[in-house]
Symmetry: C2
Subunit: 199 residues, 2 copies
């Protein structure tokens, strides 16, 4: 399984790295989770420069693609030099977006008329793109999901593991990363949010 | 305010970057949050290479120092070339550790006999270092705190903001990063964990 976490200049560290940390709990089961970028290096919204693990083309053949969020997403959505490189197919790939990443999914026509989740800053731009925005942290149908609010990354990640492997694997990953002494309640709360969308 | 997030080779992305993301909500109030490393670049436990924002010496004059976690912490704790560069003073600095970072605080004699939190993997090594380990996500006394389980980074971060600025600032940062539609309950839950240690 190849998993691309799309990460652009100005990226929100919480959105890309919470997903990376949780999804890598599946490394032992052969999941290859990769920070995927349009350039060799990208710098986060708070000035941390990281090396790409994969070029953008990696996402087109990945089994799971998650769109990270960031402060330059509106510009990226209008940049054909980046957007033309992303060619996804939700009938074959599991695709999700975090916060402003929802705008990129809208631009790529990946939401298929679904209402979506995003952060409060991005909300007006997603509405402008013709998408209904929900006042909830997570939403999914079939192979497509969106999440809003940085810490909802945990829901998007749990959904991706449940879709790509099993609910038991998602439960195991959540239990590992959960706070000591709260692992059971933490895992239950996350799965309660995600489970209705796994039917 | 200078804030050092100590980040070593093999680092856990959740532990360093959840703190970075939440603490940077204070950027507008002059907080300078920096990934602080013993080398120009470090590579995470899942293979992501990042550039240091500051050398290790930055931590010695920082107002707040958070020890990140990682898979090589036991080796780092025994490496005088790294440990001798870290000279902290909990009477003047706010100091916290996440997961295996607790082992580094123990090694540097920063826990002052306090029982501590850590992750379940590190627990036996912290006990071996003579520290009582608690079955809870977060613990603090005066200027010193420890947290256990990756997602407890949110508690350590909230505590650091409350200590370095105010509980209202911590509340504001948590509200921003919280899941859409759950921001109030998320913020309350985090502050409920941290508040007893702010007295």
């Amino acid at each position: 399984m190849n998993i691309a976490i799309l990460t652009f200049d100005g990226f929100n560290e919480l959105d890309s790295f919470i997903a990376l940390g949780i999804l890598n709990r599946m490394k032992g089961s052969g999941w290859n989770v990769q920070i995927t970028c349009p350039s060799d290096q990208v710098t986060s919204m708070n000035g941390v420069t990281i090396n790409a693990q994969q070029p953008l083309s990696f996402c087109n053949d990945a089994d799971i693609v998650l769109f990270g969020s960031g402060i330059y997403t509106r510009d990226i959505a209008k940049d054909p030099s980046i957007m033309s490189q992303i060619n996804l197919d939700s009938s074959k790939q599991i695709i999700g977006a975090q916060c402003s990443g929802t705008l990129l999914m809208a631009e790529l026509d990946l939401l298929q008329g679904l209402p979506a989740c995003t952060d409060l800053t991005t909300k007006p731009w997603v509405i402008e793109a013709g998408i209904d925005v929900l006042n909830q942290p997570f939403m999914a149908r079939n192979n497509v999901a969106t999440a809003g609010g940085c810490m909802s990354s945990q829901y998007l990640s749990a959904w991706a593991i449940a879709k790509g492997a099993s609910t038991e694997d998602a439960e195991s990953a959540l239990t590992y990363v959960g706070p000591v002494g709260e692992k059971e309640s933490y895992t239950k709360q996350c799965l309660d949010v995600v489970s209705p969308y796994l039917i």
